[in-house]
């Protein structure tokens, strides 16, 4: 692989980044941003983690998180139940936001990651729409707030605990496991490895444009 200069996304500094040792990473020498990682077999691991996360996600959403019993009556809620309650009370905007951050974005993140990893495994070079999907996975990851939701559930539980008896459901344990799996995916996933395999939208196969020019510049700067 030719040693192309890399520009830091946070400070725009051009620098040469050698391939880090296995399980190592390279930081920007000016601002400390992670510029390159070397995670052997990372995407293989990510795929199995993502499939596991998909299963746990279904369980977390299918079973009630918690229930409330008072005066012989019981109410329980699932994850989407929070958004649904908001919707019924006439707060559609907030309901949409809660639904997005609690259900749609995590589902999108896990689902798209699985598709991207499977397609990239089977086809080399990967079709160009894999790149588009990677972009969507990143967007979904930014808005997926399962861990914030979990803390929200715990605070809600404590607020209600004074009013009535609270029953813990299966969903809450599944959500805990889901947070662990999503964190593991975030640590392991290596999108850069997939980007190097994606077919370019300009029609070409993966090559480095203007590599001679950029290397010339680097040498001139030294």
């Amino acid at each position: 692989m030719p040693e192309n200069p890399v520009a830091c996304p946070d400070c725009d500094l051009l620098q040469h980044v050698p391939l880090p040792p296995p399980r190592g990473k390279a930081l920007c020498c000016r601002c400390g941003k992670v510029l390159a990682t070397n995670k052997p077999g990372a995407n293989e691991r990510t795929l199995s983690l993502a499939i596991g996360a998909a299963i746990v996600f279904v369980i977390a959403n299918a079973f009630p998180l918690m229930g409330l019993s008072a005066a012989g009556r019981e109410v329980d809620t699932t994850i989407i139940g929070g958004a649904w309650a908001m919707w019924q009370e006439g707060h559609q905007m907030t309901a949409a936001l809660v639904g997005l951050c609690a259900v749609v974005a995590p589902a999108g993140h896990i689902g798209i990651t699985i598709v991207v990893l499977i397609v990239a495994r089977r086809h080399r070079p990967a079709p160009f729409w894999v790149g588009e999907l990677l972009h969507w996975a990143e967007l979904a990851r930014e808005w997926a707030m399962t861990e914030v939701m979990m803390l929200g559930i715990l605070v809600a539980l404590l607020k209600i605990a004074d009013l009535a008896t609270v029953v813990i459901g299966v969903g809450i344990f599944a959500t805990g496991a889901l947070i662990a799996l999503i964190t593991a995916i975030a640590i392991n996933f290596d999108p850069e490895e997939i980007w190097t395999q994606v077919q370019w939208s300009s029609g070409g196969t993966p090559v480095f444009v203007n590599s001679s020019q950029t290397i010339d510049y680097q040498e001139a700067a030294k």
């Binding site: 601002c31 008072a70 809660v98 939701m149 559930i153 605070v155 809600a156 607020k159 009535a164 950029t214």
Partner: protein, 213 residues
């Protein structure tokens, strides 16, 4: 800064925001697209300073009703009680879980305000072409980006309380107008953090060096 530090923009190289490919960008009237992923190429995020200011000001305006207006009404047999965000924190503190009260206070009140001040500080220093403590300012920006999502905490708390406390007529909970403004603050500050470009912090240092040469 010792030697002249080569930056991508002065050498005509632009980093694609979507796929991270570095490619040559020649400014013409036509839009240039990234050869790898096909998204628009630019040296810096478009109108970063104006957009971030606009979003911060909008968030600051929403921050006032978010804290003054009630976010939830609890209805019991005794009567109805309207709670603002601060009331919720005080209630948690009085019921004995001061750690949770602290977490909610930090997530709902302090983080949104700190984000607004931090982004305003970054924008003002960039506009004044400051070259001091660049590294610390980038770290501040990363902190703002990382911490922003936790402000959603109270929105989740309210929606799950509303979903559960539905044993009418014994007790019920309903969301109030404040929650809409609160959610707006969260979304606007997340967008504001995304529209800012940390590379602007280093641009003035680069232009200073060129002037001295």
């Amino acid at each position: 800064m010792t030697a002249r530090e080569p930056m991508a923009m002065p050498s005509g190289l632009a980093l694609c925001r979507h796929c991270g490919l570095l490619s040559k960008l020649i400014l013409t009237n036509e839009t240039t697209y990234c050869p790898r992923c096909g998204h628009k190429l630019a040296f810096r995020r478009k109108n970063a300073i104006q957009r971030t200011w606009a979003l911060i000001i909008a968030a600051a305006i929403c921050y006032i009703p978010a804290n003054i207006l009630p976010v939830m009404t609890s209805i019991t047999l005794v009567g109805a009680e309207e709670d603002t965000i601060i009331d919720g924190v005080i209630l948690l503190y009085l019921t004995g879980s001061w750690h949770l009260a602290l977490i909610v206070l930090i997530a709902s009140v302090i983080i949104p305000m700190a984000k607004l001040f931090a982004l305003a500080y970054l924008l003002i220093t960039v506009q004044r072409r400051s070259i001091k403590s660049n590294r610390e300012r980038v770290q501040l920006y990363r902190l703002v980006e990382f911490i922003g999502r936790w402000s959603m905490l109270d929105v989740f708390v309210i929606s799950f309380v509303v979903a559960l406390v539905q044993i009418k007529p014994l007790m019920a909970a309903e969301p109030r107008a404040g929650v809409v403004f609160f959610a707006a603050v969260v979304v606007l500050t997340i967008f504001a953090a995304q529209s800012f470009d940390p590379r602007l912090i280093w641009d003035s240092a680069d232009s200073m060096e060129n002037r001295n040469e």
